[in-house]
C-alpha cells in the first residue's frame, strides 16, 4: 500500500502496475484472462498478507480475553467494523453487523425483521432480476407468514418497470427488497429514488449491494435505505465474511437469526436476554482474519479510489460492448450502452450453448461464466435457460477483452450454425 500512498494524489492509477498486485493473475501461465469477478474477485497481495499477518502475529479470541493478544484481536475486529462503516458512510459503527455473507445477511433480515413485523396479506416486492439470495428468503417468508411475493417487471432494456408494478408504493407494501446492481445485466437500479418514494409510505427498503459495494461509491445515508448487504469476496476481500448494514432503529426491532455465545446478556433455563447491537447478531466466535482481510480490501480499494475504479470498469465495459457488438449472431442482454450500467455483460452467440462458449473460452485462457447465474426468474423473463457472462474489474485490461472476442469467434467457428 505504501506504493499507492506515495503516488501524487491526483494522478491516475497505474492500472498495469495494479494488475501485478494480484498473484493469481501474475502466477498464471499461460496468461489468465479473468472475466468472472462478479462471481468472486481475485485478491491483492495486501489482503493475502493481512490475513497471514493476523494469523502469524495477532491471532487471539475476539471479545473474550484479558491478555494482550485478545485485546489486539478485539481491537482489530472492531476497527474493521469501523472501516466498513466509514466505507459505506454509516452514521453509527454499530449499524454494521458482520455476517458470513450477503446471503446470510438477507436471511437474517428475512427471519429477524420481516418474520417479526410483516402481516398476512401484506406485499413483499422484489424485482425480476434478483439473485436467488434476494428472492428465496422472501419466498419462504411469504409461505410462512402469508404475505404475498410481488415482482417488479423489467422493460425491454432490462430496467425496472415501475409503471406496471402496481401498488408497489402503496399502503399494502410491507417491504421492498431490491438489488442495486444486477449480476446478470449489470443494470444499476435507481435506489435513491425508490427509497424516496417508499419513504412516503414508510416502506422499509433492503438493498442487495453484493455487486455494488467495492465497485462504486455506496453511501447508505444518501441512499437512505433501511438495510444493505454485501460480501467481502466480491470486492477483493476474503471468503466467509460479509456484512449487514441496518439503520439503528431497524436493527433494534430485528431478532437474531443465530443464537449462541456472545449474543446474550443473561441466560436462564427458561429465557434469555439478548446483548446490545450489533453483538446480538453475531453469535459464535467472531471471524477475526475475515474481518481483518475485509478491512485490508477496503483500504486497498480506497487507496486506488472508488471513483477511479468505477471509471476504469466503465471504460473496459464500453470497450467490451463495442467489441462484442461487432460479432455476428451475438445477442447482448440488458442495456449495456446505458450509463447506469456496471461491469457485467451477459450474452449468447448463435445457438451455441453457453456452456460451450465458456468451455471454449476457457481453452483460450478466458474465464467467463455460463449458466443461470442464480437468477432463474430473470432467465425466464429473457426466455433463455442460461447465458454466458463476462464481468470486469479494474485489474482487467484490453488484452482480456481481445482474448474474449477471439474465443467467441472460435466458438462460432467450431460450433456455430453451418
Amino acid at each position: 500500500m505504501d506504493q499507492a500512498q506515495s503516488k501524487p494524489v491526483f494522478s491516475l492509477p497505474d492500472w498495469r502496475a495494479l494488475r501485478n498486485d494480484f498473484p493469481v493473475l501474475t502466477n498464471s501461465q499461460p496468461a489468465l484472462h479473468y472475466l468472472d469477478s462478479a462471481a468472486s474477485s481475485q485478491k491483492p497481495q495486501a489482503v493475502i498478507d493481512a490475513i497471514s499477518h493476523c494469523y502469524s502475529h495477532n491471532y487471539g479470541p475476539v471479545h473474550r480475553g484479558l491478555y494482550a493478544l485478545a485485546e489486539v484481536a478485539s481491537e482489530a475486529y472492531e476497527a474493521a467494523r469501523q472501516t466498513i462503516a466509514n466505507f459505506v458512510n454509516a452514521e453509527n459503527t454499530n449499524e454494521i453487523v458482520f455476517t458470513r455473507s450477503a446471503t446470510e445477511a438477507i436471511n437474517l433480515v428475512a427471519h429477524g425483521w420481516a418474520g417479526q413485523h410483516l402481516k398476512p396479506g401484506e406485499d413483499i416486492w422484489v424485482s425480476q432480476m434478483e439473485h436467488h439470495a434476494n428472492f428465496l428468503p422472501w419466498q419462504r417468508v411469504c409461505q410462512t407468514l402469508g404475505t404475498r411475493l410481488r415482482v417488479i417487471p423489467l422493460d425491454e432494456d432490462g430496467q425496472l418497470d415501475f409503471e406496471t408494478a402496481e401498488g408497489i408504493f402503496g399502503a399494502n407494501t410491507g417491504l421492498i427488497a431490491i438489488t442495486q446492481v444486477s449480476n446478470v445485466l449489470g443494470t444499476i437500479n435507481p435506489i435513491e429514488q425508490i427509497v424516496r418514494r417508499a419513504n412516503r409510505q414508510s416502506i422499509p427498503v433492503l438493498v442487495d449491494a453484493a455487486q455494488a459495494v467495492g465497485h462504486m461509491a455506496v453511501d447508505v445515508q444518501a441512499l437512505n435505505c433501511d438495510f444493505l448487504v454485501a460480501s467481502a469476496h466480491k470486492m477483493c476481500g476474503p471468503g466467509g465474511i460479509g456484512f449487514l448494514y441496518g439503520k439503528q432503529e431497524r436493527l433494534a426491532e430485528t431478532d437474531p437469526l443465530l443464537l449462541g455465545g456472545g449474543m446474550v446478556d443473561e441466560v436462564d433455563i427458561d429465557q434469555s436476554s439478548w446483548a446490545e447491537i450489533p453483538a446480538r447478531f453475531e453469535a459464535g466466535s467472531p471471524n477475526l482474519s475475515g474481518a481483518v482481510g475485509f478491512a485490508a480490501a477496503i483500504n486497498y480499494l480506497q487507496d486506488i479510489g472508488m471513483g477511479a475504479i468505477e471509471q476504469r470498469v466503465q471504460q473496459l465495459t464500453s470497450l467490451a460492448y463495442q467489441t462484442l457488438s461487432e460479432i455476428d449472431g451475438l445477442a447482448l442482454y440488458g442495456s449495456p450502452e446505458s450509463t447506469s450500467h456496471s461491469g457485467i455483460l451477459s450474452f449468447n452467440v448463435d445457438d451455441i450453448h453457453p456452456h460451450d462458449v465458456a468451455h471454449i473460452a476457457a481453452e483460450h485462457g478466458v474465464a467467463i461464466r455460463a449458466g443461470h447465474h442464480c437468477c432463474q426468474p430473470l432467465m425466464q423473463r429473457l426466455g433463455v435457460s442460461s447465458t454466458a457472462r463476462a464481468s470486469f474489474s479494474f485489474y482487467n485490461n484490453e488484452q482480456d477483452i481481445a482474448a474474449l472476442a477471439k474465443a467467441i469467434l472460435d466458438a462460432k467457428q467450431i460450433l456455430g450454425n453451418r
Binding site: P354, H355, H359, E363, S385, S386, L415
Partner: protein, 140 residues
Amino acid sequence: MSNQSVYKEVLLDHFHNPRNKGELDGMAMIKRGSNPRCGDEIEVGVNCNDEILTSVRFRGRGCSVCLASASIMTESTAGLERQQAQQLTQQVQHWFEDKNSDPPDDDALAALSSLRQHSARKKCVLLAWVALGEVLDCPG
C-alpha cells in the same frame, strides 16, 4: 486453441450430425433426464426385442457435450443385450466418477475421454447415460 481441446473431430461430428436424434414416437420405454442448473433436458427412448436393444434414440436440448454424448451412446448401445447395455452404462458412469478407473471396452467412447478432466462437464456427459440406465432398470 490447444491440442487439449475437448472439441475434437469425433465429438463435433456427433454434435453437428447427431445419430438417432428426433421424435420418440413408437419407442416402448422413455426416460427423461434434466440438469436444472443449466436447463438441459434429454429424453431417451429404447425398443427391445427378446432382451436385445433394437433401437436407442434421444431428443432434447443441451450443450454440445451433452448432445454428442447422447448420440455416441445411441450407437454404442443399440444391438447390445439389455444386461450388456446396463453394464456399459455403469462403466461410463464409473469412468467419470473415479479418475483412476479403466475406460469402458468400447473404443467409440474414446471421444469422451478428454472430458474426464473437467469435473464441471460430468453432468453434461452423463445426462443421457443416466436416463438410459433408468430405462434399462425398469422391468419391462
